[in-house]
């Protein structure tokens, strides 16, 4: 479903921040992405989210090579991808409801469907009583939940989350991880970038870690052993 072949990425004329990335994520898989700060996690997520094009190599999403995709074809691909940004990136002047409804409205969904799905999802993430609140009035955890709801409202085939539980209390973090697991069971491929070793230990999904701008894939057990041996 997702395939990287010798992918490299650089910003402008700068040095390569990602080198020779080879990766294959099958449909419905769940992976953690980890690595030290500055290793290139955000850059890899940008490639997955179709926010940047690779500077070399081949990148296939949903069975199609997307490195040289025509500009007008990008939105259809992006609608199949849900992104939870580390810094939330909510629109401060819109309510929680409007923020979550945005992907549906952009995709041209009927108003009835928007109302029903958004209310349902906001209730599920525990924000049923905060639908009309604007992000500046919400706590970090609440903003994070709005951001997650916005990312999954379109039932994406690929969900990318950058430190999704970083601003939450452990209970809410667990609840949201279970939500990601449920989405994963429904067939959504999930990639979660995290520094949270406890989360990796608890949920035991394959781990991709970035080191010196290159990507390594391993089992959670091997990663934890390596981590604890450091």
């Amino acid at each position: 479903m997702i395939r990287f072949e010798n992918v490299g990425m650089r910003y402008g004329m700068g040095p390569e921040v990602l080198r020779d990335i080879n990766l294959h994520l099958s449909h419905g898989s769940f992976h953690f992405l980890t690595g030290p700060t500055g290793a290139g996690k955000s850059s890899l997520l940008k490639l997955l989210a179709l926010s940047h094009r690779p500077s070399r190599g081949l990148l296939s999403l949903f069975g199609q090579e997307v490195s040289h995709l025509e500009r007008e074809d990008l939105p259809d691909f992006r609608r199949k991808i849900g992104v939870v940004f580390q810094e939330f990136r909510l629109l401060d002047h819109l309510s929680a409801f409007e923020n979550v409804a945005l992907p549906l409205r952009i995709a041209g969904a009927e108003d009835d469907l928007v109302q029903k799905n958004v209310k349902e999802l906001l209730n599920w993430v525990g924000l049923g009583n905060q639908m009309n609140a604007r992000p500046p009035t919400l706590s970090g955890g609440e903003k994070q939940r709005v951001a997650i709801a916005r990312a999954i409202i379109n039932r994406p085939q690929l969900l990318i989350a950058d430190e999704p539980t970083g601003s939450m209390d452990p209970e809410m973090g667990l609840r949201l991880m279970h939500l990601f697991q449920e989405l994963n069971k429904l067939g959504t491929t999930v990639v979660i970038a995290t520094h949270d070793i406890e989360m990796i230990r608890r949920f035991r999904h394959p781990v991709m870690y970035l080191e010196d701008s290159t990507l390594h894939t391993t089992t959670p057990t091997a990663y934890l052993a390596r981590f604890e041996g450091m």
Binding site: A49, L50, S51, H52, R53, R71, E72, L74, P75, D76, R78, R79, I81, V83, F85, R89, L91, H93, L94, E98, L102, P103, I106, A107, R150, N154
Partner: protein, 296 residues
């Protein structure tokens, strides 16, 4: 291209931008100047048409003063000759008293002017659509009546037409310049808006918004700003025109006519705000789409 003026943009809060806040004022000034240029353009066109109509049907024969000649007889000879020329509708001698009256505003008392060595004048009215050969008639008249000269007013009219056409060209050039300056201002405002909202635009892209969706928010907002500026600009220009019309009509001078607008002129003025809004929409769409192409 969707042109929805009433739908307010929701995701991009463009109305909060300081860069475009004063755009209506600039547009109002531009439309005011453009409206005045347009009024000038149509008024001069109308004046040219009036002058041509008034002058092309009228000729004047001037018989130079000759102290040894019988001026009344020469005037009668000229009238008699001109009445035989086909295509001439009416011939009338302008009496000495009438000539003195015409000169009175410039030279003083008419009874004194009558004693001056004045040329005699004959007023000639040419039939409409006549194929009168003015050059041949003038030559024959000069041969028949000593000192007679047929004045067609053509050189004067030609100079006036040249002046009027130059002013019209200047008005058109001013309108072109105003359009260019307006486009440049709009381009800068739209580009600044793009930079200020870069983060939100990126989010919209990542959740699947097409370039057209983003461009529409910019173009609708800027079109609305243009209309908010253009309509008052036009209204002020019309008020100024009415004021000048009032002032010019008080002058009661033949040549300085009050600005007179034909129907086409009023239509062009009425369309001006709409044209400005369309120009803004097209410019903003073009600049936003070309800027978005540089993002992934």
């Amino acid at each position: 291209m969707k042109f929805s003026l009433l739908s307010k943009p929701t995701e991009l809060q463009l109305e909060k931008d300081a860069s475009s806040k004063y755009l209506p004022v600039v547009i109002a000034a531009m439309v005011f100047l453009a409206s005045l240029a347009l009024i000038g353009l149509f008024s001069i066109n109308s004046a040219i048409s009036d002058w041509s109509g008034a002058i092309s049907g009228n000729l004047t024969v001037e018989i130079a003063y000759d102290k040894n000649g019988d001026m009344d007889q020469r005037a009668e000879d000229a009238v008699a000759f001109l009445k035989t020329v086909p295509g001439i509708n009416e011939v009338r001698t302008i009496t000495k008293a009438e000539t003195a009256e015409l000169l009175e505003p410039f030279l003083g008392r008419a009874d004194v002017i009558e004693n001056l060595p004045l040329p005699r004048l004959v007023e000639v009215t040419v039939s409409e659509n006549s194929a009168l050969d003015l050059l041949a008639t003038a030559t024959q008249l000069e041969n028949t009546v000593p000192g007679a000269h047929l004045n067609t007013h053509r050189p004067w009219l030609d100079k006036m037409l040249l002046l009027a056409r130059s002013i019209q060209f200047l008005a058109a050039a001013i309108m072109f310049l105003i359009s260019m300056v307006t486009i440049v201002i709009i381009v800068f405002a739209a580009r600044t808006g793009m930079v200020m909202h870069h983060d939100i635009i990126e989010v919209l892209h990542l959740i699947g918004a097409r370039d057209g969706y983003i461009a529409r928010q910019f173009q609708d907002y800027f079109a609305r700003l243009s209309l908010f500026g253009a309509v008052p600009g036009l209204i002020i220009a019309i008020i100024v025109m009415q004021f000048f019309t009032y002032l010019a009509s008080r002058l009661e001078a033949g040549l300085i006519q009050p600005p007179s607008m034909v129907l086409e002129g009023w239509l062009a003025l009425a369309l001006l705000p709409l044209l400005v809004a369309i120009l803004t929409t097209v410019t903003v769409r073009w600049i936003v789409l070309s800027s978005l192409k540089r993002m992934m």
